[in-house]
Amino acid sequence: MNESLQCKEIDSTLSPGTYYLSGNEAVAEGAIAAGCRYYAGYPITPSSEIMERISVRFGEINGVFMQMEDEIASICSVIGAVWAGARAMTTTSGPGFSLMQEAIGYAAITETPLVIVDIQRAGPGTGQATRVASGDIMQAKWGSHGDYQIIALSPWSVQEMYDLTIEAFNLAEHYRVPVFLMGDEAVGHLRERIDVGPTIRICDRRKEPGAPPFGTREDDGVPPMPAFGEGERLLVTGSTHNELGIRKTDDPAAHSKLVTRINNKILKNREEIIRADTYHLDDAKVVILSYGFTARSALFAVSELRKDGKRVGLLRLKTMWPFADRIIREISRSVEKIFVPEMNRGQIIGEVMKYAGSEVIAYNQTDGEIIHPHRIMEEVRKLI
């Protein structure tokens, strides 16, 4: 991230060392390490372990834990707490994520930084509550009405459930935007070792008393963010507003200016936001594009196929949104095929096809199971 940020190294809340945690527990610890001191949520499988751990840990560190009456109240109270000065989070799964969508749009237009963790399960509807899927990837981008941008991250390990939760808070604070950690049942319930260092890097929202809280001179700027109780006499509204927060519900220029900026501040800065890892791309003819838990299977498949001399590589997206368009364009120039395995009926592949010059092949699995490496190996062998 940009070095102009108000970032600092702070001591880790967990003593440095190695821990054996579930992904959901790691989210709770990551949030606490990142300074989250307000949490609101509603129980839902397979994410509830996060709120359970936070309910205990917040008692030790003086955080505010609220079990609300539903997911709508959860996210709305989080937005309220953020404007009171908190770093705040809510966590859920598909049905709850659906209920939160209206308030996500509110957070986008009011430029409220917050973190939402979606531990994805098999949908649609109630679906299979205890089973894995990646079915909410497009919902994360398009779930609320109107034009807005968010940031979505995709962790593949317990370590990343911890690290990317911290990163999610930093991105939210810097860009004043909702940030989603798009976990899933498999990574949420996975237990493995994680390493915690002595310090972590934390970035704060920018403060500038008296400055307009909802506008910048640039068309991609992020305004400073005051809090209630600081004497700024803030006007916060989900209606279209000018840079001072005054409602402008029939002013074409005001609407255009606001919507353009809340989109541009993410899209124009996407090179700074987007993170992706690559493996064996140098001589690859086929690249597997993967994210989340599926990328673990994909990496194993790549290393096995490599033993047979197959020229296969892996592109792993850590940032789902904004989408890694440049990376796809560049990689597709040097490879013949991009193979996209997903635990859905084909979601991110649509984005890949928008930008890839090469052939793009789907593999979709929606049976509530993870995609096993041998399935990926079988499919890739057909392509080489």
């Binding site: 307000y38 009456e69 509204t237």
Partner: protein
């Protein structure tokens, strides 16, 4: 608006957006009068509102922090603010449709938790801003844009609802009872816990014109005549009470 209360309004606000004859201006006056009499510091106050005409009472008019939220969710937003920063005196001002229909769940749960909020529900018995559709507070028989033959469903008794959910302070007054209303707002602000006031506020534009009220003054007269105290209500028979609205403070002894 009384001139001496203009300090409580943002200087850039020159007029209110309310229709002629709307009760919300009187309510606005009563709320600010209560704040003034309690000598509260507007820098330590937050006003949260939802969507609808009443949501515009504080936003953008009050010269304090204001949070104009989603339809129905004002209490949920206010809960987050208050729980994180209990020093902020937090008042929710919104309409009957917003707080008790789409937002009914948040209302009863905040009352159950006894969250330290003051909630003022401006009840005009109709969805005003969207063009006069039936609300969960519209009387049986009332004509609205969606009940052109008369509303067949009973309205909520909001005070009973919130009392049953556990609120320690519940009151109902009409804008035709401004002195009692100011006193009630003061009490609600002082109460440590969830305080709820239902304020009957006439909507001549959407309710009055469909329900045989000749003018805004007629509606005020109707409210003035129908509103009686708990004590007066005890003298009346069940039949006589049917057309009455019982006002006052409701506690353990019930409405």
């Amino acid at each position: 608006m009384a001139r001496d209360l203009e300090n409580y309004l943002r200087p850039e606000v020159k007029s209110t957006p309310f229709c002629p004859g709307c009760g919300h201006g009187i309510l606005m006056n009563c709320i600010l009068r209560a704040i003034d009499e309690l000598h509260l510091n507007m820098n330590e106050m937050l006003f949260v509102s939802g969507i609808g005409c009443a949501g515009w009472i504080p936003s953008p008019h009050f010269n304090a922090d204001t949070l104009h939220t989603l339809h129905g969710r004002a209490i949920a937003f206010a809960t987050g603010v208050k729980m994180f920063n209990p020093k902020l005196t937090t008042m929710v001002i919104s309409g009957d449709g917003d707080l008790t229909s789409i937002g009914g769940n948040h209302l009863i749960h905040a009352a159950r938790r006894d969250t330290d909020l003051t909630v003022i529900c401006a009840n005009n018995m109709i969805y005003g801003m969207t063009g006069g559709q039936a609300a969960s507070t519209s009387p049986v028989g009332s004509i609205t844009a969606t009940t052109t033959e008369g509303n067949i469903y009973r309205p909520f008794d909001l005070c009973k609802l919130v009392l049953a959910a556990g609120a320690p302070y519940v009151a109902r007054y009409s804008v035709t009872q401004p002195v009692s209303l100011v006193n009630a707002v003061k009490k609600a602000l002082i109460v440590n816990g969830f305080a709820f006031i239902e304020v009957l506020s006439p909507c001549p534009t959407q309710f009055g014109r469909r329900n045989q009220y000749e003018s805004a003054a007629e509606m005020l007269k109707m409210l003035s005549e129908r509103c009686i105290s708990k004590e007066e209500a005890q003298q009346l028979s069940r039949g006589e009470l049917r057309e009455r609205i019982i006002t006052g403070e409701f506690g353990d002894d019930g409405p």
